[in-house]
Symmetry: C2
Subunit: 197 residues, 2 copies
């Protein structure tokens, strides 16, 4: 994101250049020398299961309004990834979850995000749409609406889950989701450098 | 970090409050309504080994100048965690590494960081101090300078590595490193909620 004014002194004497001894260009204030660093964000979420079904949320907001997603969102300051996954699951699906393990970690370098998805089981059988969801429901793996999934990270996580269920063991999967889907149909997104633990 | 002026319009009419429909306080510009989000950063690094020894760097800069660390630093926009680990290993230890797997993931919610450390093997046998290091050397596990390690994340990663070597299998370990070490001696830091895959 472009910085037009210094957040510390208010000057508009901002230059986008590589600071001395650094390697990346940054927005630097030439009045007070403050450097406005910008770094990737973590998106934390959860693959919530119940009786072999997966919990999906229909998005009530842009982007991808009307498409299905796992509960997930920006990790906040002062929380852990697990706490963020719990919080997002509550906010979007009004569900409580027992987190079993980290499940997928995807780099999305073209949008400066790292997705971290936990695997967990629904606690009890209660869920309902939060303010950012139109609908929340459990899908058997046969019912997953593949053509209506909001993001490639969600599709890849669900594909890995189905593979893991077939082999009878949940892994922990790390990979990169690369640029094509920004330019075209998300269905063209490419998962690369997959490493499974 | 406190925001005094809007980065988009330059106004000082900034208020720290919870935006409508949100749950966390943010710095909001009351002139142009821009919200200055702040989120955790990822620190990417690498446990580099060679002939059963680990590569440590003596820090040339603050914080913890003169203390030993693994090559690690802030992940940048437009890169993956693995690319960041490679880059930091080159910048701090002038070493190339073959990354084998993700190794430790630590939440540090009190300083809004997530440490992600890869495990890898030194490619060739070359290494040297980069500009942020005073010295780089290989330590056998018996030689590790436990009292001179820069950060609890480094100590916990090395402890887990020694345990894993004894059992003959490298895991992938996730946990939280909690607040006490900010207030007192880093040796008092507490690793909690450890889950090993």
């Amino acid at each position: 994101m472009k910085i037009h004014f210094c957040s510390q002194c208010g000057s508009d004497n901002i230059h986008y250049r590589v600071p001395d001894g650094d390697h990346c260009p940054r927005y630097i204030c030439h009045e007070c020398q403050f450097i406005h660093y910008q770094n990737p964000n973590i998106i934390a979420g959860c693959l919530v299961t119940h009786d072999d079904k997966v919990l999906l949320c229909k998005r009530a907001i842009q982007p991808k309004k009307g498409m299905w997603t796992l509960p997930a969102g920006f990790m906040e300051n002062h929380e852990t990834i697990a706490q963020a996954a719990h919080r997002e699951t509550w906010e979007e699906a009004r569900a409580r979850v027992d987190l079993d393990q980290l499940y997928t970690i995807f780099n999305l370098p073209h949008i400066n995000q790292v997705y971290v998805i936990y695997y967990g089981e629904l606690r009890g059988d209660q869920f309902a749409p939060g303010p950012e969801s139109l609908q929340v429901r459990l899908f058997s793996t046969e019912e997953i609406p593949w053509d209506e999934l909001a993001f490639p990270t969600i599709r890849e996580t669900l594909k890995l889950y189905i593979q893991d269920r077939e082999r009878g063991k949940l892994g922990l999967h790390c990979g990169d989701i690369v640029r094509p889907w920004v330019l075209a149909d998300p269905k063209n997104a490419t998962l690369k450098n997959l490493v499974s633990h």
